[in-house]
C-alpha cells in the first residue's frame, strides 16, 4: 500500500516538475525570442516611442531699408486648431471664435463640422487675438506657436517686398527673388520623452541648430518710399488716373531709393486686393514713353557730333515720313498707316535750334535730328541706354520692354525717335536718365545693397556700369533738360523744385492696347534730375490713363516736383537755387 502511494507521489512530482520545467523552457524560449531574435526590432520600437525629433524651423531673414529699419520681419504667431470630437455645440463655438478673431463665421463652422478630427481654424494669428481665443477656454480648441511674416509698414513698398505663403515660401517681389537666401536651413532637436510627452532629464538631447536665413538690406529709403507713394496717390486722385508709378534713383550708385506703384495692397492682408495690385509696374509695366525718349535721340546726335545745341532746323508743323500717310490714316482694309507726324501744337514752319526742339518737345524737330543721326546709330544708342533689355535689377519677372526697329519698316525709326514703336519700363527710363545725370555712365539699378548671413558675413552687391555717352554730352543734355523746366516755353514748367535747379523731360503718349491699337487714353510721364548743377537724384513718374489733364507736364510734373523736393530735403542736399 505504502509502495503504491510512493509510486503515485513520484508520478505527480514528475508531472509537476515537467510542467515547471516546460514553463521555464517556454519562458526561456520567449525570452530568447524577445532578447535575442527580435531584440533589434524591440529596441527600435522602444527608441521610436521614447525618442522624438522636432524640426527647428530656420528664422526667415529680415528685410531692412537702407537705414536698417524693418520692412519685413518674422515673429511668433499662433495657429488655432480644434479637435472636432471634443467641441460641443459647434455652431455656438464658431460664432464665438469668429467674433473674437474677426473672421467669417460660416467658414469656422464648416471647419468645426468637417469629418476630420484635427482641423485648423486660423493660421498665424497674432498673440493678442490668440490669447483672446485661449481665454474663451473652449474644450477642444487649442493653439500652438507658428512663425508668421509681418510687414510693419503695411502697404509701403508692398510690390517691391512681395509676400510669402503661410508656409513661408516667397511668392512675389524680393521675398520671391531672394527666397533661398532668406529661408535658411532648418535644424532639428532629438530628445527622449516619457509617455506624457515630457522631456526625460538626463535622456538624449541633441540639438542641430537651424541656420537662420540671410538678412536683406535694400536700397529703399523708407521715408522717400512713403513720399513717392503719397505723391502718386495724390496724383491718382487729382487726375482720376488708373495707375501711378514712381521711381527714385541715386544715379551715381544705381541704388533705387523708392519704387512706388499705386494702387497698392497690404501684404499682411492681401485677400482683399486684386492680383493687379500685386504687380510691380515699375519693372513689369512696359509702356510707350513718348517724348522722354527724345533724350536718347538728341544725346546720340550730340555724341555723334551730328548736331550741337545751337544747330538750327527748319521745322514744319507736319512731317510725312511714309508717303500718303498724312492724307489718310488707315488703308481701305482698316489697317493703320503710320508715318505722319506733327507737333502737339500747330505752328507754321519755323527755325528751331536743338535746344528749342527739346524745350518745346517738338516731334517733327526730333525726327529731323534722327534723320541726321541715322537709323543704325539710333538703334545703337537705344541699346546703349538699356532699352529693350532687362536692367538686371534684382526683381522677379522684369520686363525687357520691346523694340520695333525693323530696318525695312519705313516709320519705325522716326517713331522710335519720339518714343513710339518702343516700349519701356519706368525703371529702364529712370536708369537712362540716370546715365545722363551720372556724367554719361549708366549704372545698373538695383534694390538690394547687401546680404548679411546668420554669422554676420556681408555680401555686398556690385552693380554693372558702362559709359553710354561722354561726360561733355551728358553735361549738355543736363543743360538742355534744365531748360525744359526753367524756360517759359518749356513743357516741364510744373516740375520746378523749390530751392533747387532741376532738369527733366515730359512724356505724353497715346496708350496702345494690344488688339485695339492706340486708344484715347494717355500714358504721361516726367523724368528728371536735381540739383541740375550736380544731379544726385533721378525721379521718374509715370501716370497711366489720367482722365483730368492729358500731358506729362500737367499730370506727372507736379508729382515729380513734390517727390524731388522732399527727397532732396531728406537726403540733406543743400539748395542750389533761391
Amino acid at each position: 500500500m505504502a509502495r503504491r502511494n510512493a509510486g503515485r507521489l513520484s508520478t505527480r512530482v514528475v508531472i509537476i516538475a515537467s510542467i515547471v520545467i516546460l514553463s521555464w523552457v517556454g519562458v526561456g524560449f520567449r525570452l530568447f525570442q524577445l532578447q535575442i531574435v527580435q531584440a533589434s526590432n524591440y529596441e527600435q520600437r522602444g527608441v521610436e516611442q521614447r525618442e522624438k525629433v522636432k524640426v527647428l524651423a530656420a528664422d526667415r531673414g529680415t528685410i531692412y531699408d537702407r537705414d536698417g529699419r524693418e520692412l519685413a520681419i518674422t515673429v511668433q504667431g499662433k495657429t488655432i486648431g480644434a479637435d472636432t470630437t471634443l467641441v460641443q455645440d459647434p455652431a455656438k463655438m464658431a460664432k464665438l471664435i469668429a467674433a473674437t478673431l474677426g473672421i467669417d463665421e460660416a467658414n469656422v463652422l464648416a471647419v468645426l463640422q468637417s469629418d476630420h478630427r484635427w482641423v485648423t481654424i486660423a493660421r498665424q494669428v497674432d498673440e493678442e487675438r490668440a490669447q483672446l481665443v485661449e481665454n474663451l477656454e473652449i474644450t477642444g480648441i487649442y493653439t500652438y506657436p507658428e512663425a508668421m511674416r509681418v510687414y510693419p509698414e503695411g502697404t509701403l513698398a508692398a510690390q517691391v517686398l512681395g509676400f510669402v505663403d503661410p508656409d513661408g515660401n516667397g511668392l512675389e517681389g524680393l521675398e520671391f527673388q531672394y527666397n533661398t537666401q532668406l529661408t535658411g536651413i532648418p535644424g532639428e532637436v532629438r530628445f527622449e520623452q516619457d509617455r506624457n510627452g515630457n522631456i526625460i532629464p538626463q535622456g538624449l538631447y541633441e540639438v542641430e541648430p537651424a541656420t537662420p536665413g540671410s538678412d536683406l538690406v535694400t536700397t529703399i529709403d523708407r521715408d522717400i518710399q512713403y513720399i513717392a507713394e503719397r505723391a502718386c496717390q495724390e496724383t491718382l486722385v487729382r487726375n482720376k488716373a488708373e495707375r501711378c508709378t514712381a521711381v527714385v534713383l541715386d544715379p551715381a550708385t544705381g541704388e533705387i531709393l523708392a519704387m512706388a506703384t499705386v494702387p497698392s495692397f497690404d501684404p499682411n492682408n492681401r485677400s482683399e486686393s486684386s492680383q493687379d495690385d500685386w504687380t510691380n509696374w515699375a519693372v513689369l509695366g512696359a509702356y510707350e514713353p513718348g517724348s522722354t525718349e527724345k533724350l536718347i535721340t538728341i544725346a546720340g546726335a550730340i555724341e555723334s557730333k551730328m548736331v550741337a545745341p545751337g544747330t538750327v532746323f527748319e521745322v514744319p508743323d507736319t512731317l510725312e515720313v511714309v508717303k500718303g500717310s498724312c492724307a489718310k490714316q488707315t488703308t481701305s482694309s482698316g489697317v493703320q498707316i503710320n508715318g505722319c507726324y506733327h507737333d502737339a501744337e500747330r505752328h507754321p514752319t519755323e527755325s528751331l535750334t536743338v535746344r528749342d526742339i527739346v524745350t518745346r518737345s517738338s516731334n517733327v524737330g526730333t525726327i529731323l535730328v534722327q534723320k541726321l543721326l541715322g537709323n543704325a546709330r539710333l538703334a545703337d544708342y537705344i541699346e546703349a541706354f538699356g532699352l529693350g533689355q532687362k536692367t538686371g535689377a534684382d526683381v522677379p519677372g522684369e520686363s525687357p520692354g520691346a523694340l520695333n526697329l525693323d530696318p525695312t519698316c519705313p516709320s519705325c525709326f522716326a517713331s522710335a525717335a519720339i518714343g513710339y514703336a518702343v516700349s519701356v519700363t519706368p525703371l529702364q527710363m529712370a536708369a537712362a536718365y540716370g546715365a545722363i545725370a551720372n556724367d554719361g555712365v549708366w549704372v545698373q539699378p538695383h534694390l538690394v545693397k547687401d546680404l548679411v548671413d546668420g554669422s554676420g558675413v556681408h555680401q555686398p552687391i556690385t552693380p554693372q556700369t558702362r559709359q553710354v555717352v561722354s561726360q561733355s554730352t551728358a553735361k549738355i543734355m543736363q543743360a538742355l533738360l534744365q531748360n525744359v523746366i526753367q524756360s517759359p516755353e518749356g513743357t516741364g514748367h510744373n516740375a520746378q523744385v523749390d530751392g533747387y535747379t532741376a532738369a527733366g523731360k515730359t512724356g505724353t503718349a497715346r496708350k496702345y492696347v494690344p488688339g485695339e491699337g492706340y486708344t484715347d487714353n494717355y500714358v504721361v510721364s516726367f523724368i528728371g534730375m536735381a540739383p541740375a548743377s550736380n544731379p544726385q537724384v533721378v525721379v521718374g513718374v509715370v501716370v497711366d490713363s489720367p482722365q483730368i489733364g492729358e500731358s506729362g507736364g500737367r499730370v506727372a510734373a507736379p508729382a515729380f516736383s513734390e517727390i524731388m523736393e522732399e527727397t532732396l530735403h531728406r537726403l540733406g542736399v543743400p539748395p542750389d537755387a533761391s
Partner: protein, 134 residues
C-alpha cells in the same frame, strides 16, 4: 570470523566546534542598522539623481525662457517698426496740429561754405552751353 578494525573517520581539520552558536544569529539591532543603511543609501541615490536632474530641468527652463525672450524681442521690434511707420507718424503729427510749411526759404549764412549760385548765374552757365556751335 576475523575481526576488522573499524574505519577511522577522517575529520576536517578546518572545522571546529564552537560554543554558543545561537549568539551568531542576527539580532534586531543588526537588522535595524542594516535597514537604516539601506534606506539611507536609497535616499542618497534619489538625492544624487535629483541633484543630477535639477540642472537638466533648469537648462530646459532656461531654453524655454530664452525662446520666450527671443519671441518678445521680435514682437518689440515689430512694435517699434509699426510705431515709426511714416504713415502713423504723419497721422499723429496731423492730430497734434503740425502742418507742412507752405513756403521754403533758403537762407545762406555769411561765411559758411560757398554761397549757392542764383538762378541767374546757373542759367548763364546753361546758356553758354546751349549756344555752343558743333
Amino acid at each position: 570470523m576475523t575481526a576488522r578494525p573499524s574505519p577511522v573517520r577522517q575529520t576536517n581539520r578546518r572545522l571546529r566546534v564552537v560554543a554558543g552558536g545561537r549568539n551568531l544569529k542576527p539580532t534586531l539591532g543588526t537588522w535595524a542598522i542594516f535597514s537604516s543603511v539601506a534606506i539611507l543609501l536609497f535616499f542618497a541615490l534619489i538625492l544624487s539623481r535629483v541633484a543630477l536632474d535639477k540642472p537638466a530641468l533648469e537648462l530646459s527652463e532656461l531654453r524655454s525662457q530664452i525662446q520666450t525672450e527671443q519671441d518678445r524681442y521680435q514682437q518689440l521690434r515689430l512694435e517699434v517698426a509699426e510705431l515709426q511707420a511714416p504713415s502713423r507718424v504723419l497721422e499723429r503729427a496731423a492730430d497734434l496740429g503740425l502742418v507742412y510749411p507752405s513756403d521754403v526759404e533758403v537762407v545762406v549764412a555769411d561765411g559758411v561754405g560757398d554761397p549757392a549760385p542764383t538762378d541767374g548765374d546757373r542759367f548763364a552757365e546753361v546758356k553758354s552751353i546751349l549756344t555752343a556751335a558743333p
